[in-house]
């Protein structure tokens, strides 16, 4: 009994983390005896469900510029265009196209994607479809988050009356050595004029 009383205080020093306390870390890492739950990337102790892209989130097929998901013409100053999508193991890239309006001065695009830290990392590229050239890539965002999501930001000046496309693609990092090469993301884009 006395030995038990001696062990109990030390047992209290072992951190107790209940199921669902933390969001999955990079490469789907979780505390001991917990695994990453696919649908919501939360660390759970048992019965973890596999990752799957919800049918309503997919914009497939969109793996080429010709098949890009179109946002249509966007005004010089626009509200944010928000798109929730998903990229499974077989998906190499997602294209999202748009065109700029006439008469815009100092046009600039602010593009962001957020995705869970648990699964593969994603990147952004901005392409001029008319010139068929890449004009910008993502950079670290000025803000950080501890909410279990990663942010990628891209800012670039735009030319009026031009067709553009944003490519969302995996970077090859955080894939759990190939076992979690998938992710869901939220795409957000807004055009503005800098005078």
């Amino acid at each position: 009994m006395r030995a038990l009383l001696f062990v109990l205080p030390l047992a209290a020093c072992t951190p107790e983390i209940v199921s669902g306390s933390y969001l999955c870390g990079p490469n789907a890492t979780c505390p001991d005896d917990q695994v990453c739950n696919g649908p919501d990337n939360v660390c759970v102790t048992a019965s973890a469900q596999p990752f799957s892209c919800e049918p309503e989130l997919t914009t497939e097929p969109d793996d080429t510029t010709d098949l890009a998901f179109s946002l249509g013409p966007i005004d010089c100053v626009s509200v944010a265009s928000i798109l929730a999508s998903c990229m499974d193991e077989t998906d190499g890239a997602d294209w999202i196209s748009f065109s700029t309006s006439e008469g815009c001065v100092g046009l600039s695009a602010d593009v962001r994607i957020t995705f869970p830290t648990a699964f593969e990392e994603l990147g952004l590229e901005l392409w001029d479809l008319d010139a068929n050239e890449r004009i910008a890539i993502d950079a670290p965002c000025p803000i950080t988050s501890d909410s279990g999501d990663e942010l990628r930001c891209l800012k670039s000046p735009l030319v009026p009356s031009t067709r553009y496309a944003v490519q969302v693609l995996p970077t090859g990092e955080g894939t759990c050595d190939g076992s979690c090469a998938y992710n869901r993301y939220t795409f957000r884009m807004q055009l503005s004029e800098v005078r």
């Binding site: 062990v7 020093c13 072992t14 990079p26 660390c43 279990g148």
Partner: protein, 211 residues
Amino acid sequence: MRVALALVAMTAPVLAGEPDSVGSPPPPVLSPPGQTIPVPAPPEPSPEPVVDPAYGERPDAHESATRMGPNERAGERRTRDIVVKYHPDRSRENLTMVALLGAAGALFGGVGLYFHFDSRSASDEVKSQRYTGRTWTQEREDTFNRAHSSAAIAAVSYGIGGALLIATAVAYIVTEPPLETLVIRPHSPPKPVTIVAPIPGGAFVSRGWEF
């Protein structure tokens, strides 16, 4: 002259070496025919010792004081041996060993306490009973591992420290110096001394007794 002869007659048994005894009848007095020499009355036996109410009994009634020693025989008034029982002081080496054992036990206990608090601190940083909305980062993973390792070190240190403290207590008890007995034999009482000194017209005789 007659007085001197009387004194000599009184000391004759002593000079012969016989033990003195209280209450014995006086020796026969040799007197010239027709004359009587007054004989001193025999001394009265000493009364029983008075019991001192402060002690309740004779002060020397303790066992060690009243136990008969080799100089004593029943019924005879002789000196008494003094018996003293005591534990000798511990040696310097013994005290040093016990002190080092105790200090080592306290040291390991202190180390265990330090790692115990470190483990508790790390545990408090990452433990959770509800959804936190935070990501399980590598930093939190390292803190979690530190809590486990510090708890293990604390347990081992507590165990070693406890064992050393028990060893200290056992060593202190086991190495206690054994009880020793010291017997003090007081010096034997001096034999009665008789001095005979001639003086003009006779002799001067004196004798000493121990009471």
